[in-house]
């Protein structure tokens, strides 16, 4: 696939177009950092539903999983148009005026139609990607999925063809006249951190805590 995605009429940013990003590497970095996405679809009467769910990227596809009995996954598998949005919040931007307050963030919007994965090898590869994305090293430590579990899990994939990102970084942007005001201005950076892990009450103390849990980093 090309390094840069062509904006379509549906992904081209109209407002704040200077924040638009169509570079594939930059977009994939955002997708790989985020834990969850918000998956949107609409029913026939036009009512949208937006569902938070975990996801993983493998190559030029996003993968989702859920119960084979899930209405959402069945609806999407039937070919409903989908929108997947991923958002990372990086900071609060405190301008001198209330009006120019903002957030630093990175977000990605993917439009398209999902398809159900039937091939057991591809399903297993997707589950591997989910696990290793969340906790690198965990797949080999945990009990891997058996045939029954694989059957009970539906996996969908969405091609990364119609995609755009929007990024706001950096300083405050105030109106020219407001810079003279004696108001503190700046950015408060935000970050998701992990606290020390809580051992399951039924996990024997003699089982050592793996480094990926005791020193978890995003």
């Amino acid at each position: 696939m090309p390094d840069s995605l062509a904006a379509t009429d549906r992904t081209r940013l109209v407002r704040e177009a200077n924040r638009a990003v169509y570079d594939r590497d930059a977009i994939y970095k955002i997708l790989d950092e985020a834990f969850i996405c918000h998956l949107g679809f609409a029913t026939a009467d036009g009512q949208p539903f937006v569902i938070p769910t975990m996801f993983a990227r493998v190559g030029d596809f996003l993968y989702f999983h859920g119960s084979a009995a899930s209405r959402t996954l069945r609806g999407l598998a039937s070919g409903l148009p989908a929108c997947v949005t991923v958002t990372l919040t990086d900071g609060l931007v405190l301008a001198r005026s209330v009006f120019n307050h903002s957030m630093n963030y990175r977000s990605v919007v993917v439009l398209g139609q999902a398809e159900l994965i039937d091939d057991p090898a591809e399903k297993l590869a997707a589950l591997h990607a989910f696990t290793e994305k969340l906790i690198p090293g965990r797949w080999n430590d945990a009990r891997q999925p058996n045939e029954k579990e694989l059957k009970a899990t539906s996996i969908l994939r969405l091609p990364l063809t119609e995609v755009s990102a929007k990024i706001r970084v950096g300083d405050v942007e105030d109106d020219a006249d407001d810079y003279a005001l004696r108001v503190w201005a700046g950015v408060i950076p935000l970050r998701l951190v992990a606290d020390p892990p809580l051992r399951d009450s039924r996990c024997e103390a003699s089982i050592p805590t793996p480094a990926y849990a005791s020193n978890y980093k995003r």
Copy 2:
């Protein structure tokens, strides 16, 4: 409004119904902790769009703001059905089996139709709520919106009538047979934290950093 929201056919959880919450106080607490929501709507051809945006709750309404020129806000103001989803990620749940890995989270889904706010006093109250929600104390320090800025800002509100929450908390839930495995299991708590604030390059050093910036807490 009643303390507990009645589940409708559209908000009643079918899957994992034990995670459903319809208590108004619990739902409002989640809404008030979150910075951003994901706002969904669909165009006439059934294509959903999911947009991350800031919001604030005032009483039994959610408020959103944006440019008066925004296509999204104009579409929503015209009465398109909306879905607003708010998600907080609280932890990674490491089960003994890959299949039972999960996340601890709190999410809220609001369905309804938004309406445009025309009354300048209500618009100002909504902007006050946005600012004070993000940074308590900031409204009085910053330059407050003037008439031109108020006109350039569209504000929508969505009634909190059809609302549900889904919460996963606590320990790992493994299959009975898997508890015998010598696999570390537990929860890695996740938390959004603020790093020390970055003073704007054009903010004079003699202006003291306010406590809400130097010691920001969610």
